[in-house]
Symmetry: C2
Subunit: 429 residues, 2 copies
């Protein structure tokens, strides 16, 4: 692990640099798949499912029977756990519902803002080694609360043409019934253009590998919105001498097992804590089944000692972590002053994995410094705020003159005229 | 004008097609300017200001004296109009402030969501024939309410190295003091990478021509967020026999004068109204100073007769207009059921230009069908929602088992372990 002591501010950006991802080599294949899906629809989707997933499907859509059967494959314990997680995520996202904002700005000029659902959304759930059924909850629950009319889910099939039963169970629990065995670039392309089987959507959500990430960029160039730019997952822990080193180590490792490019950073004002955490990491890492992955991520991770809490906070805000754990006696200082972070975990008994699964917050969060400008997925991600205005005769008399003057000053005479013609009518009434 | 009677749904997408914009030819020059500004900073910015704007500046930043002088150049009437507009926009955006959302999802698991300002934002205001000082209000006011620490404004200088005084006055009125005489691609590039003079920002807002639009796409590929994809402005009016034809015509024309590629659509269930509006347009258009522009837009515009309100609404939702005027006796039906529109104007005395300037709503809105997935700029555009969670010993005991089970089922042992180590400690307490 890289230990860094009291780094000068001018070195921070170098120290905190994320590994640069190159999408150059994914461009060509993404372009090709998009062009073909656009022209040939389902036929192209099937072709690439066969090519990338090594499987020829009779039908892309998951049947009701398959969904029912999936539920029988899970233990009751796991089903209860998923239900608890669902209940918590639901509670927290239900609380995010906002009222209509209504203001009479001047007499007779009534303005309001109302949020309405994005009508058609597509959720992408990666397959592969870790079946992320928790992500199904994180996307499907707010989509349903928002009232999206059409929610479809794409996820790649395995070699036996099946989908992980926990993914099907979680989707069904959330009321999602349109599930397609389609993954990767061809899934994103199908949701972008629409095919006979898969409907075009207005916004695509969900994580994925480099190909999926590039495909989502292409989707957004083709008029479909996406949740956010994606990158490798990150965790930054700020801990002082009140933190429990073995807990901190377990959190850093939970991040490190995600992938070799995962970002793990410890910032502390206590050298003792720093040393203790390092020792604990090396102890715990040996027990992990995914230790080969975790070791690479840990080797690139940073343990940073800072002189003061103020400097530590400044460095943290410059980094803008996706996940930020605070284990410190002055936790309020950090809570109040953190400017850039996706989700924040406070205290010794709040592991990051609580937010990944069951606390209630969303785990789809901005990486790669995007917490400076983006938030994670929340209820509003599935809504759009529309504004309304209704102006009475009195109202247009109150603001008409100002509009005329401003439109004229901007050289937009027809804008002015739309007001003048009304004011004139009122004068003659 | 194109008159279309009771079109079949399968023809709608063709009828409602927007002109396709090609950005192919802007790519090369945008790439070049970006690369050069990234490497050479201010020197490159100056070079391209000289190249595109035909002017060599001694200093890019607008001085305090210039700002003060600008105010003396405007009539008191116009200044009062701008102040009224500011007051209304401020009222409506202040009302959008949301409270902290706080929920104890299960005993001991406290989750909350809090919105914090995007710390550094850049506003882009186009120059050219129409100095859009109203856009300064629409962007600067919510930025200030949100509490963005650094708000900078870039706008191109004219041949005399000056900025339109109304732009400077509006900016200053909103408390913006960092104003740079830099426009076009080089302005977006400077705010993306930062130069010695112009700071790097986290999010860029504002309209612009094709070059600016492509430059904003490049910015977003370089880690800077943008407000939304931009396209030519649009207006769709739904009017029935209760609408006043001359008012409707004036609104359609106010949109048409924006540019030759402006989109203007009338949808109605009354053939009589359709004919009357057409007649009025040809009467009014001759009076407009920008009639050459308006005529081209009007030639491409559509007057569509629909058999029923239900069908009309369906067509409108399929189009997803940026601006949507409703002048109908059944206005409530349209208000309640419109799914896709940026800003909605209701009744005979609510011209679209009211929203452009002074009603209080924002005029930076999604075009090109993006109202299906995006909202216009609002207070939240300058904030990001961050989530927090604080779990007590009791709390982790309540949800710990569920996390362990789910993490295990996803094959993420270290995620499980971060909980197990805590539960074990508590058991031994």
């Amino acid at each position: 692990m890289k230990k860094i002591y009291n780094p000068e501010p001018k070195t921070w950006s170098e120290i905190l640099k994320r590994p640069t991802q190159s999408f150059e080599d994914t461009q060509e294949i993404v372009k090709q798949v998009f062009n073909e899906v656009k022209r040939k629809g389902d036929r192209a989707v099937s072709k690439y499912t066969s090519y990338f997933d090594g499987i020829i499907l009779n039908t892309m859509e998951v049947s009701e029977a398959e969904i029912d059967y999936a539920a029988t494959l899970l233990s009751d314990e796991l089903k209860e756990a998923i239900k608890l997680a669902k209940a918590n995520v639901e509670k927290f996202h239900l609380a995010q519902i906002t009222e209509k904002v209504k203001v009479e700005t001047v007499e007779g000029v009534l303005c309001w803002q109302e949020k309405r659902a994005i009508q058609k959304v597509g959720l992408y759930i990666p397959g592969g080694s870790a079946p992320l059924f928790s992500t199904v909850l994180m996307l499907a629950i707010p989509a349903k609360i928002a009232g999206c009319k059409e929610v479809i889910l794409c996820t790649p099939p395995d070699r036996n043409a099946t989908i992980d039963p926990a993914i099907l169970y979680a989707a069904s629990l959330c009321g999602i019934t349109k599930i397609y065995k389609v993954g990767g670039i061809q899934a994103i392309a199908a949701m972008t253009f629409g095919t006979k089987t898969i409907d075009k959507v207005y916004k695509i959500f969900g994580p994925g590998n480099q190909f999926v990430t590039t495909a989502k960029q292409y989707a957004s160039q083709n008029g479909v919105a996406i949740d956010m730019p994606a990158g490798p997952s990150e965790l930054l822990v700020y801990a002082d001498e009140t933190a429990i080193p073995s807990f901190v180590a377990s959190d850093l490792l939970s991040q490190a097992e995600h992938g070799k490019d995962s970002q793990v950073v410890l910032v502390t004002t206590s050298e003792e804590l720093l040393e203790a955490v390092e020792k604990e990491i090396y102890l715990q890492i040996e027990q992990l089944p995914r230790k080969e992955i975790a070791k690479v991520a840990i080797e690139n991770s940073k343990l940073i000692l800072m002189q003061t809490e103020k400097k530590a906070l400044k460095l943290i805000n410059e980094y803008g972590p996706e996940h930020f754990i605070i284990c410190a006696k002055n936790e309020d200082y950090f809570i109040e002053n953190v400017e850039n972070a996706g989700s924040i975990f406070i205290g010794n008994y709040t592991p990051e994995s609580a937010g990944d699964y069951a606390s209630g917050t969303n785990h789809t969060l901005p990486t790669n410094g995007f917490s400076k400008s983006y938030n994670g997925v929340n209820l509003d991600s599935f809504l759009k705020a529309m504004t309304f205005q209704k102006i009475s005769k009195k109202g247009i008399q109150n603001i008409g003159k100002a509009i005329e003057l401003m439109a004229e000053a901007e050289g937009l005479e027809a804008h002015k005229n739309a007001v003048s013609i009304r004011l004139k009518t009122l004068k003659n009434e």
